[in-house]
Assembly symmetry: none
Homo-oligomer: 233 residues x 4
DNA sequence: CATGAATGAGTTTTCATTCAT
DNA sequence: CATGAATGAAAACTCATTCAT
């Protein structure tokens, strides 16, 4: 386990020893916290490292957050995209094909996950769900459910117009979302430690994902697997 | 999908102490360790808990593993499916359509991930990759690469026979694998803490996944996204 | 006996900040300090609480006292009745019986200890004597010794006039003083936390104390404990 | 504030680095704790000092007590004389004068307070009552109330037999108990820091106290303070 | 004068690790 | 082999003190 990268070069700081910035502080602290929590997990993160990375002292953290747990919760809440109304609005857009809407939805989400900060959240939630169940529920309610709602509206519209074939919708949505989730977790875990760079190209990944999803949804001329007995209860 | 099986109640272990065979110990320890590491992460796991869950004393752990890190590595290595030659053999099977092989491959992997123990591994690797890069590489080499090799062979054969259309193969493989990975992580993190049970049905999930994958790979009568400019560098 | 007056609610302080005169500050600070030190002891008292109770900021305390120790010493010195010359004068009063003087002495002291602020001092001295020996000596010199001097003068006069019988005088003085000391400590410690109000009535307590003291001092018709061998070395 | 006396000379310890003494430990720890808590108060006591004085490491304290508060409570409870049935039995003794019983009661209590360990408790309770109200109630119930009950029985018997005069009984009991309480607090606070040794002699103190109490209780030939208006409500 | 954000030394608390039994 | 009491380094947390505003 390697040492943390050293805090931002102190010599580069020209500000006075400390400064009153009660309003700017929280965001800085939470950004530093997100980094360290992402790297080490909740238990492995040291408050001292977070403080150092934010350029403040340990004690300062306690001026803003009562303890490590509160800091962690605030970190996640701060960086969870709280509003997905954009996606919901998109789902209601008229005059556009369902295929086009679905593509936009997936591209929009992919872009959001491209943001370095936000993209760390899914991994963090997955990793710490056992220790912070309320955060897991919060994420499920505030993000997953809302995304799925928009997603569902688009799929249902496509089925209604005949653009998409009918599929078990809840499962299909999870299947379509999975590549993006996995990609964001991959970026924050295994990818940085591979010796040879990945052959996966993000833009091509997204294009292929959209291509495959649309192909998979397209109404089939023939039953996909003739004579195949599919066993869902 | 049901809640995860709760950890074996230590009080419920009734075998007398002397009955435990020395050679069975390591497996018992590693099973307990996997549970606790999965629940709490590496840093959050307490050796005392692992020992208690295995029904031994703290000191006993040190008779088998030099320290916490070694225990963690052994835990992961023990539960990583060490050989995927079965999949590689599958890929070489003659006289079967590539579609059928692909279905078998995905079903085989899904079943493996259905095992409670093995299914915890991906989450653990993702969560601790930063702290244990060598494990990340180990997993990439021993599992991911070998699975991808079999997967690639099948896809290439399908393209050669005209069963599958050509797609950016590396990206496509990740897309096909993602739903299974996500499912296994979901089971070990968020799912157990949702108030209302998930609407996702595992068997239906797998069937839908296979259905969609095969549909997505099927050669298209028309260009999938006509007039669409795809931007991969 | 009622519960102690609660600390002045800071929210209830309505004077505008500018109205506070600089010269009134120290007294306000020391009053707040006495309350907090009495409740929590020296180590347990937080300067932040003292400042808040005085309605000022933490930094302001340092404009008046160099550090916590100085503040504590100033607090005690401020509230120790600095001069007991009144008692000494009393002791020299002519034309009054020693019994009367003794009653006045005890009533005077009891009244002084009835004052909420002063009455906290004995408890504080007792509690912190180990940490602030110089304060213990200061209190012994400035208060105890002077009180005892007046007390001794009165007793000796009563013995000389035949009003009082001879007793080991130093011990007798401590015995006479003890009830008042204990009462003041009781009020500031256990009493406020009892579930049912005490049956002790302060006025009756003082009257009984005076009654018993005078009776104990009255020359006895017979030796107090006939045939009793008293063992003082 | 001076440094703590150093822990028992390590060179004098011939035992191995550590030893299993799960049964002997608690008493040792609580003895050390009582000393340090008495000297410094709850907040001022450092667990490290307590551990050092008990000859163990900091961590060992946590094997026996969950935290500082629990250690403190256990310390007080351990050293509070839990049973005062002896006094209650005494009060029921037949064929002895009430005066004699009262003398025995006071001598018995004085002896108990003469024990170095127990004698520190009253000071501790008084000092920390605000921070540990439940301890204050515990002490009031388990010790004070029981002592007062025995005390009350003896006084009432003496009044019934005509040995004692009637006095406000609750107040009188507190007055009789006060010298002993004060003495024990004095010993643990101011006394050790006086430059010149006290003139108070403990044995003479006790004898004088008994003498005065009995004299004060003896039925008076004349009204104690003729023409005196006593103001109890 | 007064403020209160910031600091960091000092304490409490945790827990991986050791080792006499 | 197994135990679990004991350890002590490391991390969380507190709060007296400072000082730019």
């Amino acid at each position: 386990m390697s040492a943390l990268p050293s805090p931002p070069d102190p010599a580069a700081r020209t500000e006075p020893r400390w400064q009153r910035r009660k309003d700017a502080r929280p965001a800085e602290l939470l950004t530093a916290a997100l980094e360290v929590f992402t790297e080490r997990g909740f238990a492995g993160a040291r408050l001292e490292d977070i403080a150092a990375r934010a350029g403040v002292s340990k004690g300062t953290l306690y001026l803003y957050y009562a303890n490590k747990e509160e800091l962690f919760k605030a970190t996640v809440r701060e960086h969870v995209v709280p509003s997905l109304t954009a996606a919901e609005d998109l789902a209601r857009t008229e005059g556009v094909s369902a295929s086009q809407l679905l593509e936009w939805l997936l591209r929009g989400w992919f872009e959001r996950l491209g943001d370095a900060k936000v993209s760390a959240i899914p991994k963090l939630i997955i990793s710490e769900a056992r220790n912070f169940p309320e955060l897991a529920r919060f994420y499920d309610t505030e993000v997953v459910s809302r995304f799925r709602k928009a997603h569902r509206m688009i799929l249902e519209r496509g089925v209604a117009t005949g653009e998409f074939r009918a599929l078990p919708i809840e499962e299909a949505m999870m299947i379509m979302a999975a590549p993006m989730m996995l990609m964001s977790m991959w970026r924050h875990s295994i990818l940085p430690h591979l010796e040879q760079p990945s052959v996966i190209n993000p833009a091509r990944f997204l294009d292929t994902q959209i291509d495959m999803v649309l192909a998979a949804l397209r109404p089939q001329p023939l039953p996909p697997i003739p004579g195949k007995k599919v066993n869902h209860p």
